[in-house]
Amino acid sequence: MKRLVVEITMVVDAIGTEQTFYFADTAMGFTTKPTDTPANTYVAGRLISAGSFRRELFSGKRVTGAVRPSFGELVLDNGDGGLDAWTGYGISGGQVTVRWGEHDAAYPAGYTTVFVCAAQYMVCDFKEIKLRLRDRLNLLEQPLVKTSFDGSGGLEGTTALAGKLKQWVSSDPGFFPPILVDAAKLLYFVQSTGTGGLGASFDIYEGGAVITRGADYATAADCLATSPAGGQCRFWFGTGGNGPVYVRLGSVPVFDLRVFGDGYQSTGSSWSLIALAATGGIAGGTGTAIGIGAQLIDDSRSILQVMQDACVPSLAWFGMTRLDAFTCGVLTAPAVTASYGFTQHNAKGWTRTPIQDMDAPVWSVTVHSGKTWPGNLVAGVSGTMSDYLSRTPWWASFSSEDATIKTAHPGAVAEVIETNSRYFQNLASQTAFTAAYFALFGALREFYTFTAQMDADTLALDLHDTVEIKIPRFGLTAGKNMRIITQSIDCDNSQITFGVWG
């Protein structure tokens, strides 16, 4: 006989004291054993519903990006008012853990963790407390760039600059404008991020013509005190090259200024989905190393938006696992080896439906990539620089079609994809992308949903895992490997509904 146990940890006073509350499903309350953790503790049978846990790999139109969570509600019996004090507690952001195990198993060692998530808010009436649950991806719904110039002078600029955001750079977003910090000193801000040891690759251009670099400044004080020679520039890359990056000019510019720079983490590593998640407060992520790509952020875009954008050219996805860990990967066709098999004997409710906005194959794809900052040009600038500084509004636009797909599927559709990342810098990367895109979305893909019993095997399955579907219908008698792209755990009925794609 199994029971569900919910642990809810929340702040219970103004100084941040956390307390964990334990509940079992109704009629299944118990007192922990001396060898359990916590020991000798009463676990009230107040849990009316442990809610559901739903995640979808596809959060947009053939765009992977963030895993879309959709949690239900956790309902606790409060007919006796025993939990009325909760209305004064800091429930938002509290951790909720749902475990499932045999009633006589050691707690929690003998239980399986069904999911871990966060409480968002609660609704109370005279009978029940309903906790709205979600994952921690909302921590990423904060501006990536929060630091601005304070206008106190020096590197912080004049009062006129106060409040302006310090632009954040990942990799090489192209030729972007620096921010004038001090007109008298001809001091410009380039980026808040480090150089990754690539300070030598930085250049500043006036009207497309490169300005001769003098020796890099050794200190911030040196940068503020010493002007470059006339017609030259000097960079200050921050201590150890870890940013922020400034540049001073020796002469007043007449044409537009553009900098070609590179942005990296202070460790020297490229910015990645995992690293950005960590800046948002979700540390310890695992998965495929997926770069943020060449981007400049100088507005209020959220970390989540930047990560979403980064997923576009990589065909990548990211999100929280059911155990509250950040993970990411690249969407690929189903693997050869399946993690588990589903048949008519261990699943029910088989349905074949299209995914929303993915009801037909794609035969044509057009990609627009890389934000640009075009500028005026000095006479005699090279054709290459003239090209670079004239591109607008995208650094690269390209398209590809596969007529055979259109022939096989007259209803096939054309897609347009946009990304701020200057990802596609050469023909090879463009060709590789369209090939991968058509491989994934150019074929007639099948999407099945079905419901299976919740057990250790089905709980272990996660999004993007490959499973074999073998049923005597829909031409699947011989079996077919498919990717799990949706997962909905129904704690109350001990069932999991999967959506598979392949």
């Binding site: 006989m1 199994k2 079992a24 109704t26 009629a27 299944m28 309350g29 118990f30 007192t31 054993k33 001396p34 000798n40 503790t41 009463y42 676990v43 009230a44 049978g45 009633h103 006589d104 048949t343 008519q344 004997h345 261990n346 699943a347 029910k348 409710g349 088989w350 019993q453 049923i471 009925n493 001990s494 069932q495």
Partner: protein, 282 residues
């Protein structure tokens, strides 16, 4: 003692003061006075000096029915109830040491059968729904109750009890009519895969009973009328179907609630009639 059904009510234990023995600070004797059955009182060890408690009712009360519910008492456990005019005294009544487990099994399922133990062994209420129950031969009036437990070989190294019942009772002169029904309600559910393979979701099984007291005197009916007022459908009653057969009493008796407040009929001259449905508390 009459073998007619006894309905124990009200539970006077909750209003009293408990003391004695040695119980974990986090799982104190006060938990015996909580309606939450799973909230147990747990002794610090299994020594007899630790596994006792006294109950002071503040004033002398009429008592006849006692029960230890949701306990982990082992097959060899014994218990003793004394009523006194002083704390811990036995001036009013002494049950002597009684076996906790009174149920006996015939040839079909032996006492030591694995099948039998699967149902009732262990240290949790879920595996041991049978309470230790005691119906006194008569009504006694006392202020002080003392319960001693002798279970020094308990494998857990402690005893735990989820609820203590000490109450008055009503026992009618005529027993329930033939047709009484003992039943289990299984909270489990069953689902099936596409092929028909079954998925079982096992939950607890709770007892219930329905019977009719066909011949109640006006006085007895008035007591049942008052019982319904005091207990309603949320309060608890101790259902003791076979007071003179402790084994059967333990098997079929339970701490329960009235499933509904049935009307007390007046079918014949000077005869009242009451159908009762009682369901086990969870």
């Amino acid at each position: 003692m009459s073998g007619n059904i006894i309905i124990g009510y009200p539970n006077r234990s909750d209003a009293g003061t408990m003391a004695g023995g040695s119980w974990l600070a986090g799982l104190p004797l006060a938990n015996l006075q909580s309606r939450e059955m799973a909230k147990v009182a747990r002794s610090s060890d299994a020594l007899n000096a630790s596994t006792l408690f006294t109950l002071d009712l503040a004033t002398a009360k009429t008592l006849r029915t006692f029960a230890l519910c949701n306990h982990n008492l082992s097959a060899d456990a014994r218990w003793r109830v004394t009523l006194g005019t002083t704390s811990g005294g036995s001036q009013v009544y002494d049950s002597g040491w009684l076996d906790v487990w009174q149920m006996t099994f015939g040839d079909l399922v032996e006492w030591e059968s694995v099948t039998w133990w699967m149902g009732v062994a262990g240290d949790e209420y879920l595996r041991s729904p049978y309470a230790a129950m005691l119906a006194l031969p008569d009504y006694y009036t006392a202020r002080y109750v003392k319960v001693e437990i002798d279970d020094t070989t308990n494998a857990d190294g402690y005893v735990q009890i989820g609820r203590f019942f000490a109450g008055n009772a009503i026992q009618s002169g005529y027993n329930a009519a033939y047709g009484l029904q003992d039943a289990w309600e299984d909270l489990s559910t069953l689902d099936r895969a596409e092929s028909g393979s079954d998925w079982a979701y096992e939950k607890r099984k709770l007892r219930n009973v329905s019977f009719v007291l066909e011949y109640l005197t006006a006085t007895e009916a008035s007591y049942y009328h008052e019982l319904q007022r005091m207990v309603g459908t949320t309060g608890e009653v101790l259902y003791m179907p076979y007071p003179s057969e402790p084994g059967e009493n333990q098997r079929y008796g339970f701490l329960g609630q009235l499933a509904d407040l049935s009307p007390i009929d007046y079918p014949f001259y000077r005869v009242r009639r009451l159908p009762l449905r009682i369901k086990e508390r969870a």
